[in-house]
């Protein structure tokens, strides 16, 4: 899958995107693209601009500079990091799944089975476990028969054993439907093994590359089992710079600014 995707027209692509909120620069000249059948993992710490970048891709935030190009008619299935599931809102899993569009009971049961969520159609959304919720969110995204899946922190609050299962599920879905997958994660080092491209974001793109399909270390395998070890990979960052305490990029060796300083936009 990886390698030749760059020659094909991407499903969605951001070119040179910059976003400022007031005087604060949130994204600086960011490029990212997802092709059909490709899994791109966007990693970055909290506040790195990941959420803003996906909102730019969705067309919710208009970039100050740069463009977003989408394949015409592209359908996006989105699994957000959080949904409002306060018990004050009496919503069942079925009610949640049919918010986007009505669906028959059969298709709802099928999609829940496909994501391994079991018979929870009539359960209150506020009471499903964290792992179940991620599967329900994935099911809602799949109901749209998407060309591109965007999964924001699909593993938040999920234990390591289930993480492996969820990664395998996402890889299976990619293989079955051939959709592109954009996975957002705050974990800088452990990424999904099936990832084709890792994009490391810290306001600007720090580095991109392929994850090293390692984690073959016998101790790692014995600790988490072969399933997890096969599903998770270590991503070795190749940064030619580091960030100072204000988040500005500086070279790793001498500490003087590497690029024309953009800090004039910042407080």
């Amino acid at each position: 899958m990886p390698g030749d995707v760059s020659r094909v027209q991407p499903l969605i692509e951001a070119r040179g995107v910059s976003v400022n909120f007031g005087r604060r620069n949130v994204l600086d000249n960011v490029d990212i693209a997802v092709h059909a059948g490709e899994i791109v993992t966007l990693v970055g710490l909290n506040g790195a601009g990941k959420s803003t970048l996906i909102r730019v891709l969705f067309g919710i935030v208009r970039p100050d500079l740069g463009t977003v190009v989408r394949t015409p008619g592209l359908r996006i299935g989105y699994s957000p990091q959080h949904v409002h599931r306060d018990p004050i809102l009496p919503m069942t899993v079925r009610g949640f799944l049919t918010l986007g569009a009505p669906a028959s009971r059969d298709s709802l049961e099928n999609v829940l089975a496909e994501v391994g969520a079991g018979a929870i159609l009539n359960h209150p959304l506020s009471e499903v476990s964290g792992g179940e919720l991620h599967r329900v969110l994935l099911a809602r995204a799949l109901l749209r028969e998407p060309g591109l899946l965007v999964l924001d922190e699909p593993l938040a609050g999920v234990d390591v054993a289930s993480q492996g299962e969820l990664y395998q599920l996402i890889a299976d879905i990619r293989d079955r439907y051939g959709c592109g997958v954009l996975l957002v994660s705050h974990d800088l080092h452990m990424v999904m093994a099936a990832t084709d491209t890792v994009v490391c974001l810290n306001r600007h793109v720090c580095c991109t590359g392929h994850p090293r399909t390692v984690t073959r270390h016998p101790e790692f395998v014995s600790l988490f089992g072969p399933h997890v070890a096969n599903a998770i990979a270590v991503y070795p960052h190749r940064h030619d710079h580091r960030h100072d305490e204000r988040g500005e990029p500086v070279p790793i060796d001498d500490g003087s600014p590497k690029r024309p300083d953009t800090s004039g936009k910042r407080r």
């Binding site: 007031g22 909102r55 969705f58 067309g59 919710i60 996006i76 989105y78 957000p80 959080h82 949904v83 409002h84 599931r85 306060d86 018990p87 004050i88 809102l89 009496p90 919503m91 069942t92 009610g95 949640f96 918010l99 986007g100 569009a101 018979a119 009539n122 359960h123 209150p124 506020s126 009471e127 809602r140 749209r144 965007v150």
Partner: protein, 268 residues
């Protein structure tokens, strides 16, 4: 002996509760109770505005609530102060401004107490017309945009990705809230109007397993509170607005004794 003014009061109260309950569900689902309270503080300034422009008080209040909502949203985006502080400042600023402006209007014989605590027994034909037009418009808008409203409540970005016009839907909810405040103030008064919006909705939670049931139940509870509160106030000669809110509050307290219906289904 049921006098005409009692029947008009009853009809007006029922109409206001009909709209307030379902709109109130969205207010508590979206945690906008204090936002609603702040809007209600614009009532006096709205009445002054209506008087200056020679319009019905309803129109002035509706417009002023809506203007305040717009200011709150724009100011919140600046992130200069927290939303909590912003609501506290603006609510009392517009309330104070309303009191000052009305004191200048010597020709305006304002029944301040009536606006603060409601005057359900003075509901007239024009009021009834406005109340039922607002209720009909709110309910029609809720039915028409139900799925979109819920979608935006659960997750705004997910709704946007699925093609919901998020900003228009939020705008619609603000219009409905302003309308409900403008009719509700006649019934229970500015200081209690948000109670008419959120208490029946909160009381409806424990008897509802779906959002739709909760919207219907909140309207029913609001209507029962209006009827019981109104007759209670006539019977014991207490103010009607507070009596209505008190009945709704008792309904809410009683609802807490009911086991949560949201939990059924866990065993299947």
């Amino acid at each position: 002996m049921t006098e005409d003014f009692v029947l008009r009061a009853l009809a007006g109260g029922i109409g206001a509760a009909l709209a307030a309950g379902p709109v109130g569900c969205f207010i508590i689902w979206r945690r906008m109770a204090y936002f609603g309270t702040a809007l209600a503080h614009a009532v006096l300034l709205g009445i002054a505005l209506g008087f200056l422009l020679e319009l019905e008080p309803f129109v002035g209040v509706f417009a002023m609530c809506f203007i305040l909502a717009g200011c709150l949203i724009l100011l919140e985006r600046q992130r200069l102060v927290s939303l909590d502080a912003l609501l506290g400042v603006l609510a009392h600023a517009v309330f104070a401004a309303g009191l000052v402006v009305i004191s200048f209007m010597e020709r305006l014989r304002v029944d301040l107490v009536g606006y603060l605590f409601g005057d359900i027994l003075s509901v007239g034909a024009v009021d009834l017309w406005l109340i039922y037009a607002t209720a009909a418009a709110s309910i029609a808008a809720l039915v028409w945009q139900w799925r979109n409203l819920l979608s935006v409540t659960v997750n705004r970005d997910l709704a946007a990705v699925e093609g919901v016009p998020v900003e228009r839907v939020r705008f619609l909810l603000l219009l409905m809230l302003a309308g409900v405040i403008a009719v509700g103030m006649k019934i229970v008064g500015m200081l209690l109007v948000v109670a008419l919006v959120i208490i029946p909705a909160a009381a409806a939670r424990r008897v509802s397993a779906t959002p739709e049931q909760m919207a219907v139940a909140s309207a029913v509870i609001g209507i029962v509170a209006v009827i019981a509160g109104l007759f209670g106030s006539l019977e014991w000669d207490v103010p009607a607005g507070p009596a209505i809110v008190l009945v709704a509050s008792v309904a809410f307290a009683a609802s807490l004794l009911i086991p949560n219906r949201g939990r059924q289904g866990r065993e299947d």
